[in-house]
């Protein structure tokens, strides 16, 4: 039902057509009924093949008929000799090939072909591979054909290297190569695995040859988007190992907090998270920062009373995760209110590509090439985005100003993707703030006036005490913000906030400013009720202040707020 143009016809033509269709329909119905009748009576013979052939030729998606054909062949498998069966199945392959020429995108046809090959006494897989090559010449994007090819490859043990060469041939000679690049992305890590055994990543030496291959592709045709998608994958990083990136302890809060490198569920049976306090295992209950979050990078445990006491000069806290494969510890000394052990984002190269120095020079020259291309093709949004990604890979802080300028150009070149670019830019702005914060060794994050549209890396901000989000374009403070368990002061004036979902259960939050936002109902402020230390709240310039009984309703919801500015 795709791609069928609606044409206007005269009444006469319409009547003629109607008669024709009625005739066709009656024939199809009769054939269908005949097939169903034979099947009902369990008659499995050549006539059944003839009848279904007629119907499937015109309607290969009539799946039940392929099933019937298979039943007939299964019967033949029992009744006939292998030689006879082979001949019959060869005929079937001819029929299938004819079907594919007419409709190369029918799931039923392709599946049946694979079934036939698997039931043939002497399957000719080489011929199947050749068939795929021929059909891919006609339509290089036919995913049915590619999937069938992969089936043939696995049955006949064609090597990944050979297949890699096949993709190279196609890429070098055609346009419209997304399917080939995709296939390459699966073959490359198998033929040239990364030395550190990072799953799905490619050996560095080969990586750089691959950069060249892709660069040639998008220089030949800057509008060939598949090359740009593939290039972004090459620039990417392997998934971070699942580890504990921060262990934090608060004396006053009698609380221990873990930050993981990615969202996990420590409550699942296979989790094996063990806490040792002063070298003794301690049974504790873990929770996330927000009830909505079942998988979270942050997990909190409220230590039993008396776990931390003044009598001891020090307490040691140790975590075993994944059966002791991952371990983290820190010591809380008497007189200290908190302690932590944390992986720095800078050292971890969290926000840049982890390439060796000499390889970085290659990327630098890639950047120079792309910049040249951009001068020739100023409207090409792929090029602009790639330049930004290269800058992030090479030197996030060094290229900060250039990156922001390129985002402006990018949004003008591709306004439909504005919201995406805004969020991406926000992510990079936050990354740089985190790097600067680490460098300055403070626990204060200032993201004010940075045109931020979305919040990222909140799992990196566990230790932050002061955060300024004012004068941005945030619509909500999502549940993820609850990971800022040390937050004491939050400024978020002059945004477009409708809710404060993430300001939930923050144990140290004392002061919140939400001036000039879009908080409309008292109920929108519900999460704040779970912040025990909140005393100062500024709601000036929000519609909620106009609501009747605003002051009294708020006092009911937030009795602890002694200093309300509205």
């Amino acid at each position: 039902m795709h791609g069928r143009l609606k044409l206007k016809t005269t009444e006469e033509q319409a009547e003629e057509k109607r008669k024709e269709r009625e005739k066709k329909m009656k024939i199809a119905v009769a054939a269908r009924d005949a097939c169903f009748e034979k099947r009902k009576r369990s008659v499995l013979d050549e006539e059944g093949l003839e009848l279904t052939k007629q119907l499937l030729g015109g309607n290969p998606d009539f799946a039940t008929l392929w099933n019937f054909r298979r039943e007939i062949f299964q019967h033949f498998e029992k009744e006939k000799s292998p030689e006879v069966l082979q001949v019959l199945l060869e005929k079937e392959l001819s029929f299938l090939e004819a079907c594919l020429r007419v409709n190369p995108k029918s799931y039923g046809t392709w599946y049946h072909r694979g079934w036939v090959l698997d039931h043939m006494p002497s399957p000719d897989w080489a011929r199947e591979l050749e068939l795929c090559s021929k059909l891919l010449q006609l339509d290089e994007r036919n995913f049915h054909c590619w999937d069938y090819r992969r089936l043939v490859v696995s049955r006949s043990q064609v090597s990944c290297s050979e297949e890699l060469d096949f993709t190279f041939k196609l890429i070098s000679s055609n346009f419209s190569n997304y399917s080939s690049w995709h296939y390459r992305s699966t073959l490359l890590p198998r033929v040239h695995p990364d030395t550190c055994q990072q799953a799905g990543r490619v050996h560095e030496g080969v990586l750089l040859t691959e950069y060249e291959l892709v660069r040639n592709a998008f220089f030949t045709d800057p509008n060939d988007q598949s090359a740009w998608f593939y290039y972004r994958w090459l620039l990417g990083r392997a998934d971070r190992e699942e580890t504990v990136s921060c262990l934090y302890v608060s004396r006053e809060g009698q609380r221990l907090i873990l930050s993981f490198s990615r969202p996990v569920n420590v409550l699942s049976p296979s989790a094996e998270l063990v806490l040792f306090v002063d070298s003794l295992p301690l049974m504790v209950k873990w929770r996330t920062a927000h009830p909505k979050l079942k998988h979270s990078a942050l997990w909190i445990c409220d230590l039993p009373t008396g776990t931390i006491n003044e009598a001891c000069s020090e307490h040691s806290f140790k975590i075993h995760w994944r059966d002791g494969v991952v371990q983290r510890e820190c010591v809380l000394y008497r007189g200290r209110s908190e302690s932590w052990c944390r992986d720095s984002a800078t050292d971890q190269q969290l926000f840049r590509s982890d390439l060796s120095v000499e390889k970085s020079t290659v990327l630098q020259s890639e950047l120079d090439s792309c910049t040249q291309l951009q001068e020739m093709e100023p409207e090409n949004k792929w090029c602009l985005l790639t330049i930004i990604l290269l800058m992030r890979a090479l030197d996030p802080l060094g290229y900060e100003k250039d990156t922001l300028q390129y985002f402006k150009t990018l949004k003008a070149a591709d306004p439909m993707r504005s919201a995406y670019f805004d969020d991406l830019r926000s992510k990079f702005v936050i990354e740089n703030s985190i790097l600067k914060m680490e460098y300055a060794e403070t626990r204060v994050v200032d993201l004010s006036k940075k045109d931020v549209t979305a919040l990222y890396h909140l799992d990196q901000l566990l230790l932050v005490t002061h955060m300024n989000l004012s004068s941005n374009r945030l619509q909500s403070l999502t549940a993820q913000l609850s990971m800022l368990q040390c937050l004491e002061v939050l400024e978020a004036d002059d945004n477009v906030l409708e809710g404060v979902e993430g300001l939930c259960g923050l144990p140290r939050l004392e002061e919140v400013s939400l001036r000039n936002n879009r908080i409309a109902k008292i109920a929108d402020l519900q999460p704040l009720a779970s912040c025990p230390k909140l005393t100062i709240l500024n709601l000036q310039g929000n519609p909620v202040t106009e609501a009747t009984d605003f002051q009294s309703e708020l006092a009911l919801l937030l009795p602890g707020v002694k200093d309300l500015i509205a």
């Binding site: 039902m1 795709h2 791609g3 069928r4 143009l5 609606k6 269709r21 009625e22 329909m25 199809a28 119905v29 269908r32 169903f36 015109g58 309607n59 998606d61 009539f62 799946a63 039940t64 099933n67 298979r70 799931y107 599946y111 079934w115 994007r141 995913f143 590619w146 999937d147 992969r150 346009f175 419209s176 997304y178 399917s179 995709h182 296939y183 699966t186 799905g200 045709d221 800057p222 509008n223 060939d224 988007q225 598949s226 998608f229 593939y230 994958w233 990615r262 998988h295 306004p415 439909m416 993707r417 504005s418 919201a419 995406y420 969020d423 991406l424 909500s476 999502t478 549940a479 979902e501």
Partner: protein
Amino acid sequence: MGTQVKDVVIKPDAPATLLLEKHADYIAAYGSKKDDYEYTMSEYLRMSGIYWGLTVMDLMGHLHRMDKEEITEFIKACQHDCGGISASIGHDPHLLYTLSAVQILSLYDSLSAIDVGKVVEYVKGLQQEDGSFAGDKWGEIDTRFSFCAVATLALLGKLDAINVEKAVEFVLSCMNFDGGFGCRPGSESHAGQIYCCTGFLSITGQLHQIKADLLGWWLCERQLPSGGLNGRPEKLPDVCYSWWVLASLKIIGRIHWIDKNKLSRFILACQDEETGGFADRPGDMVDPFHTLFGIAGLSLMGEEQIKEVNPVFCMPEEVLKRINVHPEVLS
């Protein structure tokens, strides 16, 4: 020299307002054309066709115009001894039509019309050792069927009948370099498959395993200058992708990455002012499939004349509320 951007051009006189009444009339009349050639040729998917028609009518507030009794009896007659349900009478059972049947009966609050226990057994029996699902006893594997399996069981409240962990493992093994998903491990990313896999991961509570920013980018790049969405790079736009792509974006919390005004304009242009219904692209022949997905896409974008649609199940949100099924959605 070089690739041209494949796209359509919307004519200035293309429909620009929502013709809800015409669409309701189109669907109401569709089932009665039992002597129509098109109708006969599509018998192999009849159960899904009924699901498309009923769902769009419900979303438009016109469900009462469809024949509940006739349809319920039809579904009864399509359940086989193995528990599976076929597209039509005389056809073989399959997961695709088992899901459609369960969706229809959920809309009608009439699940007792079939043997639910046997449906669960049928679905369970199709799970393979690697966690994947075959579509039927003949063994075709596809992530579409993983979605059909968990969606069916979720609607019946029986998700624990299968090995969910293994099922998740298989779907994740179908994740590609671009963050998308294909039919089987190694298959190219395609919006239809992505919808099935994000829907699957939503139902199984595993959305955190998706590379949301990467996939969201790939998905928002489906939007072409005409405002319409295609299913993968360098393909023509099609109204049904207003569903597959948009629902996926909604599930992973990035629907704002699409230009809604331009997409709305494209969807509305796919309407047929004469016959009612939506076509895949402006000027083509209409059908119930594209009618549902055009309407559902508009619903996802907040069209007030249409009921709120659930992005995972493509059913009215109020129906899912009634049966207390709440798949996770990222914000």
